[in-house]
Amino acid sequence: MSVTTMSPDPVDGALVELNEISFVRSGNAYLDRASLALRPDGRTIIVGPNGSGKSLLMRIAHGLLKPTRGHVTTGRRNGCPLRQAMVFQRPVMLRRSAQANVIHALTLAGTPRRRRREHAERALASFGLSQVADRPARILSGGEQQRLALARAWALRPEILFLDEPSSALDPAATKAVEEGINTFHEHGTKIVLITHDLGQARRLADDVVFMCCGRIIEHTPASRFFSSPVTEAAAGFLRGELILDTDPPVEQPGKQGGPSF
Amino acid sequence: PTAQVAADAPFITLASTTSTEQSGLFRHLIPHFTERTGIEVRVVAVGTGQAFTIGRRGDADVLLVHHREGEEALVANGFGTERRDVMHNDFILIGPRSDPADVAAAATIAEALKRIFEAQAPFASRGDDSGTHRKELELWRETGLSPGGRWYRELGSGMGATLNTAAAMDAYTLADRGTWLSFRNRQEMEALFEGDPLLFNPYGSIPLNPDRFPWVKADLAWQWHEWITSTEGQELIGSYLIDDVPLFFPSLER
């Protein structure tokens, strides 16, 4: 049985605590007894191969998905529920203009009507989207949509911000700006949880690193430790860019077998 | 219940009015005819006007309707071969049991209608140009009054629908006895006036003309036409009762 509770005094100060989380569908455990405490301090970066369950873990931590087994405990701040926001790996754009997307998020967050437009405009400007504010969000370019998703989450002033590969579609300058933004947010006390495949980015931002593989949290170590001498052999292999999805057959070079020669 | 007939059995199509169909008469008659001749009879029950349209287009083999003028015109214009009297019943004035216009006390149908007119009691007219509707208009002409106003409701509906409406409106209405006797949703309604010779309601049989409509099953239709006016057919018509009351009177008896 899964239980999601709101504890007034979360265990040793974690904002969100995952306790022995499993996520099982049609007999496969996509998450397998994963435990993780997200403490207010520090930027937690999650890395791991494709399909290792990073996004699942984040969606469960954010409260979008019920785990099959295990507890999620979400803390409070000053007696209020935690203000959370998440930028999805594949952001969903409502069928409205870019600006209306942000305004809708602000409406849901309870921002007073008269201040919504101004807030939305500021958020859009921060991500270089002023020019496209009135375009339908769904015809924006991939990068513009990702920026919009960031702007939308940003505008909510969350206390914990989940970011699932937020700069995967961004150009180098925007990536740089987003990383700086993340740091600023963090300095103002927002807890950052970020998934990335960009090890450079992980190195630049991480305070602590969660390494996942095959639905399990293999290690959770301070960043300095993780990048210099990871505890597990799997993590070391991952950092070297080697294949470690041991449940899969080794990924062969596509050209060798799947290329024009076959 | 009808006798189940093999799919390839010979059959004729009989266009008739809803009142005849609803009375249940055909279910009483047709099995006997089918048993005797092996001919199945398919009854298409529609509004009187629609029945005549079916006749004029040759979409049936024989008609059984109750609008003498129209029937005679059909034969005169060569759509039908001949018309024979089959049976008759009568129209009756239906109304709420309380009888606010006191039509039950009237001596003639004209007087009864006059009372309704004067009381401005709700009256539901078929308003659909059917045989019954034309009879009703004829009777109003008899009174010399021209009904109109909120109490006089032209419904544009079949007999059954009109009775359903009248029942819920506590209105008077003119109905043929066959439909009335087989009608179940009477609520507060009763037959309040009957018996005036003006309320006579004759039914005629008309086989369609094969010269005009070569596809018509003239032979089979003629057998029906003959049978229903034969002694056997006439006796069967006279023996059809609901609650021990006859619905139709065979014409030969008259």
Binding site: V92, L108 | G47, Q50, L155
Partner: protein
């Protein structure tokens, strides 16, 4: 036929009543069925499959049956008899609403369920509860829902069985296009019946065209 040729005022009032009754019924039905369909789309509860099946099945509610139900409820002896609504346009609106509601609700349920699959996590992440998500989803599915409502409008405007029973087809009071068509048919005046049918279809087409244009305008700006 002269009814049409002379631009008869009777025809005009029949047309007017037709549109009034059908549009009111569709409006009422939409007000209930759009949120209802969305609710069923969004919530998981025991017996949901049965509810969906029933809703789908009620798209096949025979008009005569709907008419009878309303007739029995509104008739003098019925539970709502004291309001004297039988044989009034109001009764026709009620019957058509009853008939059209399941159609709009069932099709809305499907449309919103499709959109919710896409939006669910995003909206919940933004703090939108399921109830709060309903207006968002209805708005974003507006093009599809326009077609859905038009399907309901088609059913309402074409319908004759129910309005005949609860309206009584009273000339000048509850006669609408479809009951007039049925009347002319039973009178055997098929050309007039067809002509009236054509007029009705043209009117329905005009309303559909307006809806289409409005849809195009709102969708051109926001896909």
């Amino acid at each position: 036929m002269s009814l049409i040729a002379t631009g008869d005022p009777t025809l005009f009032s029949i047309v007017q009543l037709s549109l009034q009754v059908s549009l009111t019924a569709v409006l009422l039905a939409s007000l209930i069925a759009l949120p209802l369909g969305a609710l069923i789309a969004l919530f998981r509860f025991p017996g949901r499959g049965v509810v969906i099946t029933l809703l789908n099945a009620l798209m096949g509610l025979p008009p005569v049956v709907a008419g009878l139900i309303v007739y029995l409820s509104l008739s003098r002896a019925g539970p709502l008899g004291q309001f004297g609504l039988l044989f009034t346009p109001t009764a026709m609106v009620i019957a058509q609403t009853l008939l059209v509601l399941p159609i709009i609700a069932a099709l809305t349920r499907q449309a919103i369920e499709n959109l919710w699959e896409e939006y669910r996590e995003q909206l919940r992440s933004l703090g939108s509860g399921r109830i709060r998500a309903i207006p968002t989803l209805l708005w974003d599915a507006r093009i599809t829902l326009t077609t859905v409502v038009l399907a309901g409008f088609g059913r309402a405007s074409a319908e004759v069985g129910a309005v005949l029973i609860v309206g009584g087809n009273i000339e000048g009071v509850t006669r609408v296009m479809t009951t007039a068509i049925a009347l002319e048919t039973s009178r055997g005046d098929l050309p007039l019946a067809l002509a009236l049918g054509l007029i009705l279809l043209v009117l329905v087409a005009l309303i559909n065209g307006t809806a289409y244009l409005l849809g195009e305008i709102t969708s051109r700006n926001m896909q």
